[in-house]
């Protein structure tokens, strides 16, 4: 592998959370406009992070913080591997490890809200992981390998149903209603986040941003073009489109129970991906004639 590209991947990985923070700021701004108000500055998430990082340390136990740090490290590693063009399956396992560490960190404290949130986090992990795995499989069907490196192929034309399934996964991963079951601020006061404070809450936020960056990176995989500039613009537009749909759904629905979330993601979400994969396979094998 080209060493220069590894350096570039590292630089992009360092910048990524700031890009996601700006996206989160735009998200809060659009949400505010949808509710007919002005909303915070675009850089508000960065101000929030700076404030959190400047507060004093208060910790419940060391285990929680060690596990949370591992979660952030795994999220960073997953994104770095994605940009460096690693195998999607390995990225999938690193991502799962990150989510598992986050859940363990939530189990490490005895607060009932944290325990509840951890259980919900596990359920949602079981719900969205098969869908993500099927999406990666769809990428393999079209591209011919599991590499996360960008290709010229326009994946969204081949995998439109998988894109729809990815929106479902985004709703779960970005903690947006109706599927913000683990976080559930108004119900279980933040679930797994409830016992973090100050600096450590900032740390966990950074981890969330890395996870979100990886999700947006997967979305950007759906657009490909031989021309580099068109490809870049297309990827950006696709990410904004996905984000806008997520915000629209977030603002027009109320939270469902975690069982309902699991049911919808595991039936409709998984069915969308399986049907899409079957159609792609049938077209490639010549079972369905395609112009």
């Amino acid at each position: 592998m080209d060493y220069l590209w590894l350096v570039i991947a590292t630089v992009i990985t360092v910048i990524a959370p700031f890009a996601v923070a700006v996206l989160a700021g735009i998200d809060r701004r659009i949400t505010a406009r949808m509710q007919n108000r002005v909303g915070p500055p675009i850089l508000q998430p960065i101000y929030d992070l700076m404030k959190l990082l400047s507060k004093t340390k208060m910790l419940i136990n060391k285990g929680q913080i060690i596990l949370a740090t591992l979660y952030v490290a795994m999220s960073i590693l997953a994104l770095w591997m994605f940009i460096a063009g690693a195998d999607l399956l390995i990225i999938f396992f690193v991502l799962s490890a990150a989510a598992a560490f986050y859940t363990l960190a939530a189990y490490a404290v005895l607060s009932p809200f944290s325990q509840l949130g951890a259980t919900r986090e596990l359920i949602q992990l079981l719900a969205y992981e098969p869908v993500v795995l099927m999406v990666f499989f769809g990428v393999y069907l079209v591209n011919g390998d599991f590499s996360s490196a960008a290709t010229d192929k326009m994946l969204i034309l081949w995998l439109p149903l998988m894109f729809a399934a990815m929106i479902l996964v985004l709703l779960v991963k970005l903690q947006k209603s109706p599927y913000d079951v683990a976080e559930a601020h108004t119900e279980i006061v933040g679930g797994p986040e409830v016992e973090y404070s100050g600096k450590f809450l900032g740390l966990v936020k950074v981890g969330h941003w890395y996870e979100a960056a990886l999700m947006f990176a997967v979305i950007s995989l759906f657009f490909g073009h031989p021309n580099m500039y068109i490809a870049f613009a297309g990827k950006l537009i696709l990410v904004f489109l996905a984000l806008f749909i997520v915000i629209l759904v977030d603002n027009s629905t109320a939270r469902l129970r975690f069982g309902q979330m699991a049911r919808v993601v595991l039936t409709y979400g998984l069915a969308l991906t399986v049907v899409n994969a079957l159609v792609v396979w049938a077209v490639q094998e010549g079972v369905i004639p395609w112009p």
Binding site: Q35, Y47, M58, V189, E195
Partner: protein, 187 residues
């Protein structure tokens, strides 16, 4: 540095220390899209471990005192305390009531007082702006009024002692009983 970044994103925690709910309703009105406090980065954290500003309503009752101290200790520094409404500011009509401690400042050092019965949303926003001004002054190293903690003797507050009150009541009952039982011929 710490204070400077707090100015742009004060997250609040609202706690009812024994209010009649009048001020609570006004605070929730302040948090609605009509007033849009998120413009200033203000969020209702609802969790002491995430919050920076403790917004209190109502006189501190004997029962909520320990909870209030608990919440205050859970908040990481730097933090501000805001007393909203007349009762939280001074105890108002409940000032020598047997079940209250008086205003919030008898229990915690208070940074900002927002008077009013009930304090209007505009007044609450004004209070937050004042709090941020104070933070800006502190961040710039300028002198700012310190958080106020009511000392004993500030206003005469009777300290309620259940033992003494019970003894007093017993004595009064005994005296009344004694007067009733006294032979009438002596008068």
């Amino acid at each position: 540095m710490a204070l400077k970044s707090l100015i742009k994103s004060p997250w609040i925690l609202h706690f009812d220390t024994g209010s009649c709910n009048g001020c609570d309703i006004e605070i929730f009105a302040t948090l609605t899209p009509l007033y849009d406090v998120e413009r200033f980065g203000i969020l209702n954290a609802g969790n002491p471990k995430h919050a920076d500003v403790l917004v209190l309503t109502g006189p501190v009752t004997q029962k909520t005192r320990s909870r209030l101290l608990n919440l205050y200790e859970m908040m990481p520094e730097p933090k501000l305390v805001m007393a909203v409404g007349d009762c939280a500011c001074s105890g108002a009509p409940f000032v020598n009531a047997y079940n209250t401690m008086g205003g919030v400042d008898t229990v915690l050092p208070v940074d900002i007082y927002v008077p009013g019965c009930a304090a209007r949303p505009e007044a609450v926003i004004d209070g937050v702006v004042k709090a941020l001004e104070k933070l800006a002054k502190l961040a710039a190293g300028e002198p700012a009024p310190p958080a106020h903690r009511r000392e004993e003797g500030d206003i005469p507050l009777e300290v309620y002692d259940p033992e003494a009150a019970a003894a007093k009541a017993r004595a009064a009952t005994a005296a009344a009983k004694g007067a009733k039982d006294a032979p009438k011929g002596e008068v």
